[in-house]
């Protein structure tokens, strides 16, 4: 029974990937006025699904190497090491994320201080 559950999970995930890949191909097809054949979309979706397997195994290995059970941003940066452009892009995105976190902390900190001042007054 658990095997069937696993299989349906895999099928659902593949279908979700296929749907999103299809939308990407549709958008790029519209931009360049060249439609993607159904076979091509299916092939890209299958390749993306299999690439996720490789990414996941790499991420797990990097986390284990760092003696952690939780995959971190540093592990993701390592997976993007093969190309300088990709590595820089991921680095920039991770810095943007870190800034967003800092902004959130600052605003919540300010709100707390304001409410404290109000209660004192």
């Amino acid at each position: 029974m658990t095997e069937d559950a696993d299989e349906t999970q895999v099928r659902r995930l593949k279908a979700a990937v296929h749907y999103t890949v299809g939308r990407f191909c549709q958008k790029i097809g519209e931009e360049h006025r060249r439609e993607f054949s159904r076979q091509a979309v299916a092939a890209i979706a299958e390749t993306t699904f299999r690439q996720c397997d490789i990414f996941a195994k790499d991420l797990e290995a990097f986390a284990r190497h760092g003696k952690r059970t939780k995959v971190s941003v540093e592990d993701v940066k390592l997976t993007a090491r093969r190309s300088a452009a990709l590595s820089n892009y991921i680095q920039n995105r991770s810095e943007e994320l870190a800034l967003q976190h800092n902004d959130l902390k600052k605003t919540t900190g300010k709100k707390r201080r304001n409410t404290e001042e109000d209660t004192r007054e």
Binding site: A16, H32, S83, A85, L86
Partner: protein, 110 residues
């Protein structure tokens, strides 16, 4: 060194990460249309977790966000390179053969 044979240097400079080479384009696109295509974080999280060998392994929220970006780049690169291959062969539709031709370099780049 097979990668160099598949993709001559001139082409490599132009086609490599076509979506990343024009960051300005990406930014304006994001500003113009709020319906930006991306994978759902939940899907990416479930997808990656299903491939982990150990149950203990978990994903941090930021890692999921970054992996979503990576997958978006992967799919975009695959699609744009296939489309350019079809363009270079003067085909009106992007067929599986075009994808097959760019696949080796794509996998080497990731």
């Amino acid at each position: 060194m097979a990668a160099m044979l598949l993709c001559p240097p001139a082409l490599e400079e132009v086609s490599m990460y076509s979506c990343l080479c024009k960051p300005a384009f990406v930014k304006t696109n994001m500003a113009a249309t709020k319906q930006e295509l991306c994978f759902k974080k939940e899907t990416v999280s479930k997808l990656l977790s299903s491939f982990f060998k150990e149950d203990k392994t978990k994903l941090s929220a930021d890692a999921v966000v970054l992996m979503t970006e990576m997958l978006k780049v992967f799919v975009t690169e695959a699609a744009v390179r296939s489309q350019k291959q079809a363009e270079s062969e003067d085909c009106n539709q992007v067929e599986i053969e075009h994808f097959e031709k760019i696949l080796p370099q794509l996998l080497l780049d990731f």
